[in-house]
Symmetry: C2
Subunit: 646 residues, 2 copies
């Protein structure tokens, strides 16, 4: 660490001072200095990540589980942040106080202008003469503390970079690598946790916190502020806990519950944050509750969520269609590239339309995995999987390092010990209200109940991570949000290191079996069981009850998916020609690829091999008769050729 | 395209105007607007890339060769740029003219301050009252034309992004995927072209141009400016022409010459640009030639080039050592990640030390391919290859689209038709002086001469591309550089579309055989020939002459590489135990991995299978006796264990 600080120091102090150069070259110098500072900033994080990678390797090799990789990244980040802060000298930026030119009114009296133009008398050093030059300055932010501007250039990033560059691959990868089998099996429970649970958590955390902050009048926290904090802190992080679960091979249902909840609640938390902001807008920071505004905020939340969902999933479907109906798979590079760009564009479209890109990119990832993946060439499948895995790893570790570094280098921190303690209590209360009452209600309807031990684990594994931090740092206007940022950063660090580190102990303490069975092996067993059971039909033709009962909605959707969505979007069988009513035949032929018809049932696109098996819903749900499909298919192929030629 | 413009328009016009919100929320709004504009900008390019990918696929499918993918990207870019410019309404940014507060002196009288702080009276709308708030504004640039500031926010990127994000993967990939066999065989010729050729091209282009611009006094071009232009335009682009060569399967030596030259001359051009800038600094824009300054500039050039080379290659070697001596290959994800981060850090370290990162990353790529690649796990090899291929593809097409778009949206263009014509003539003259006289001299020393037809192709394939544009846009201070940027952009577009499009016609016209033999097949033949020849030693023990004679330096280096560098940095045989003198045995044992000793000669790390065969220098050069290596190795293993235990 000290080495790094020395390096940073050395680089910083190398700043050449060109005393006798004319202004143009000075300007070059300025641009060059900015470039150097940028490079050093990125370098610090790159070196940090390299060290983290090496250390992760060392930990993995020794099978040390008391500290997870994200914990390592945070701790490294803290060390580097401290050394940057205390060891390196401060590079001061120069500033000048200016006032508007006489008799000029603001372009918009309610907000500062985007740019200011200032005319300065610059000394041309060679001959000592002076000349007037005009410079443009861009809006940066409101000034609360002139002195603290000094450290700003060091190791701080534009929050925009988080949202536009770092977060999308993490969230997309979560969707793309979702273990859909157990996810869909527990869909109802997961949705309940994510939607109702996160809302409950947000309101409980906010309310409990509000009671505490009434004792802290100097912070001027309104109830809205507390709710805002409740929303950002309700976004739990899938990264740390899931990596631990994966290493330990815990029960697959527990895994699915924690994973599903932590993925979806990011999306819900973002929705809540924007709903609360829009409520604030409408109610003009009023502290009293306004029904109309609240309703508007909630309708806004559903509107944003639904639209983002639509954009994400339709982008996924469009990609599936492109890869299905073009022979793009002959060029895996182009194919992977298109896949990457389409996925990213779902994020951008949603952001550009002022929806939430994170929600869009999550559902885009799920659709891509569910449909497009089946159309990709073997090389592209591997390439996309590996690419997103790598991007996810780098982005994740970068965020956690950054959280660590920014604890020291970010200037907008505002520590308030009482507030932090209050926040911890409120967060625990919110999490408890999410887990225990909801699970009690859910258990009333579930055939396989969620045992109390699992509930404790779910409670405990609500770590806070990247998303909470990103939401907190996105908006740092005013004292309240500085306090929130500090508290969120601190909560993230504590939860990742302390909770993340002790979760394996907890699992042992609660006697939850770990490492007993291989995940994939277990899946295989279950699939075989199910298949065996689906053969055992009762004499009336009714299938026997399977161990996992699915909700009516899930069953309906599955049926619709296999009969219409999959045949439409992928090369899978049965084709639309077989599933659509006969009146739609021309359309069905148009939407069926020749590949779909020419493959025989042993080919890679049958249901056993494609991503659909991940869904792991038993065969008995699927009412379509498959026995004669081969003969039907050859007949269909003849028809198809006939239709196409026509 | 119209659709895109409508989309952009729609998004832009959706800007909500919050009339009655307090200032804090206005500020939120401002941040949100900036975020939206960012998203739309990136979205425009993403959509552009998606369209380009689809069109490339269509072209590849029809085997259309008259227009290359980069040409497509440029044309698409031009169309989108035009529609953004003419179809979408201008979003005006608000600005305010300000003056320094009374009695305040500039922090530095010779240059503008980094930030200005302005106090404004902002109206709090709900009650109509006003309050004073301070805002910070960051330096953006010199103002030459207030009116034109309007379009600035549209579809323009920070040039920093080019240099820090887009260029490194392209250059790294060039080094990493370098076909080293033919590259090393023609090393002398390539180096001559790159170092002397580029310098000649720069000076000839600059001088010819200077004669022309004497007729254009209003542009105020000095000789230095002309040289600067000569340097940036001397960076030829490997992308387009090589893709065409690869598709057409031209002669491997021609391929190697064009590839090697265009890769290395980027590095040389960057060096020349910074040398010319430093000459300018020293000579204070004097038009007369100053020997001391020129010498200083040239020593500076060599210093920068050598240091960048050192940083790049030592980063590569460090990565090789890490991958050799740790068992990181058990975790391919960590391994690939480390590989990626180390490679990027070579760029950043060089940039942070004010050297040229591009040179560093190029040689880092070559070292990574030559050493580290051999230590990687099979999965990581594939993953890194595919990753860089993808990044390269996206980055490349992005740059070419951007060149197209920026022709319309970038505000600093300054068209001067006469200058453009003059530049074209000078560039052709410079290129001709690079190719023909140098090749004549080189042919004196070469056994296999470069035929005249090849020389014409080399002359013609000096397309200008990403690097020239990046160098031009990096610095746009003053009228001269605006003219240079415009001319460079135009040259790039013309050369990519016209020259890139007609190169296959030229090859046919010059009767250069294309597609006759498969590259890899040819390599195999040559390798087999060489192996056969190396067996045929003359009675004196002297090897027979091989068809490709190598320079003395190359032979020496190769010998050193195989005896010391490869055993030290990779798992390859012979080990250092066998090659180092006996006095260094403890060191040799320390630096030899057990894997190196335990593998037998048929293992994957033998010279036939690793990347070393790419070097394709025949066996006869290698004076190390290999006959008894197996028995030696087992003896060495025993010693090794002994040393390690000690």
């Amino acid at each position: 660490m000290a080495l790094l600080a020395v390096l940073a120091n050395l680089c910083m102090s190398l700043l050449p001072v060109m005393a006798n150069a004319p202004t143009d070259i000075r300007m070059d110098e300025k641009a060059r200095t900015i470039h150097r500072i940028d490079s050093i900033n990125i370098l610090v994080y790159t070196v940090l990540l390299i060290l983290t990678v090496c250390l992760i390797w060392a930990f993995k090799r020794r099978r040390a589980r008391f500290l997870h990789e994200t914990g390592l990244a945070v701790i490294f980040g803290l060390m580097v942040g401290a050394s940057i802060r205390y060891a390196s000298e401060e590079t001061e930026t120069s500033h000048l106080r200016v006032v508007p030119l006489n008799n000029q009114t603001l372009p918009d009296p309610g907000s500062p202008p985007d740019n200011v133009f200032v005319q300065l008398e610059i000394q041309k050093t060679p001959d000592g003469s002076r000349e007037n030059r005009s410079y443009a300055y861009t809006f940066r932010g409101e000034l609360t503390d002139v002195e603290s501007k000094k450290l700003d250039q060091k190791a701080t990033f534009d929050p925009e970079i988080f949202f536009n560059i770092i977060l999308p691959p993490i969230i997309f990868n979560a969707g793309y690598s979702l273990k859909r089998k157990f996810f869909f099996r527990n869909l109802g429970t997961i949705m309940t946790y994510a939607f109702f649970g996160t809302t409950i958590s947000c309101f409980v955390t906010g309310s409990v916190l509000y009671i505490f902050v009434l004792a802290l009048p100097h912070l001027q926290f309104t109830f809205n502020n507390c709710l805002y904090f409740g929303a950002i802190i309700s976004a739990t992080d899938p990264v740390t806990v899931l990596a631990i679960f994966h290493d330990l091979q815990v029960d697959v249902n527990l895994y699915a519950l924690v994973f599903g909840e932590s993925i979806l609640n990011d999306a819900v938390a973002i929705g809540l944050v924007s709903a609360i902001t829009s409520y604030e807008d409408v109610s003009n920071k009023a502290t009293e509750f306004e029904l109309a505004a609240a309703l508007k905020a909630f309708s806004n939340f559903f509107y944003i969520f639904a639209c983002s969902f639509l954009i994400g999933s339709s982008t996924g479907c469009v990609t599936a269609l492109i890869t299905k109906f073009t022979k793009l798979c002959d060029f895996p590079l182009l194919e992977s590239c298109l896949f990457l760009l389409m996925s990213y564009s779902s994020f951008l479209v949603a952001e550009a339309l002022e929806l939430t890109g994170i929600v869009a990119v999550l559902f885009c990832g799920i659709c891509q995995a569910h449909y497009t993946y089946n159309n990709l060439s073997v090389e592209s499948r591997q390439r996309t999987k590996q690419l997103f895995e790598l991007m996810n790893f780098v982005a994740e570790n970068f965020i956690f390092s950054y959280i660590g570094v920014s604890m020291f280098t970010y200037k907008k921190h505002h520590w308030d010990l009482f507030f932090i303690v209050a926040a911890f209590i409120s967060i625990a209360a919110g999490r408890a209200m999410l887990v225990y009452p909801l699970t009690f209600l859910l258990n009333l309807g579930r055939t396989n109940k969620i045992p109390m031990a699992f509930q404790h684990v779910i409670f405990f594994s609500g770590l806070r991570g990247a998303m909470a931090f990103a939401l907190a740092i996105r908006n740092t206007l005013g004292l309240q949000r500085h306090v929130m940022l500090t508290t969120t950063s601190f909560t993230v660090i504590v939860s990742v290191i302390v909770c993340g580190g002790s979760i394996s102990t907890l699992l042992r303490w609660l006697n939850i079996p770990v490492g007993s069975e291989d995940h994939d092996q277990e899946l295989l067993n279950i699939t075989q069981q199910q298949r065996a059971q689906s053969e055992l039909r009762s004499p009336t033709g009714e299938p026997l009850k399977t161990p996992y009962e699915k909700a009516w909605l899930v069953r309906k959707w599955y049926n619709f998916d296999v009969r219409f969505m999959k045949p439409f979007l992928t090369h899978s069988r049965p084709t639309l020609i077989e599933t659509l009513p006969s009146c739609c035949m021309p359309l069905a032929h148009l939407l069926t690829s020749t590949e779909q018809l020419t493959q025989d049932d042993n080919c890679r696109h049958t249901r056993e091999d494609d991503s659909d098996t991940d869904l792991c819903l038993d065969e008995s749900d699927f009412n379509f008769e498959r026995t004669n499909s081969l003969t039907q298919a050859s007949q269909a192929l003849v028809n198809h050729v006939y239709y196409i030629e026509k």
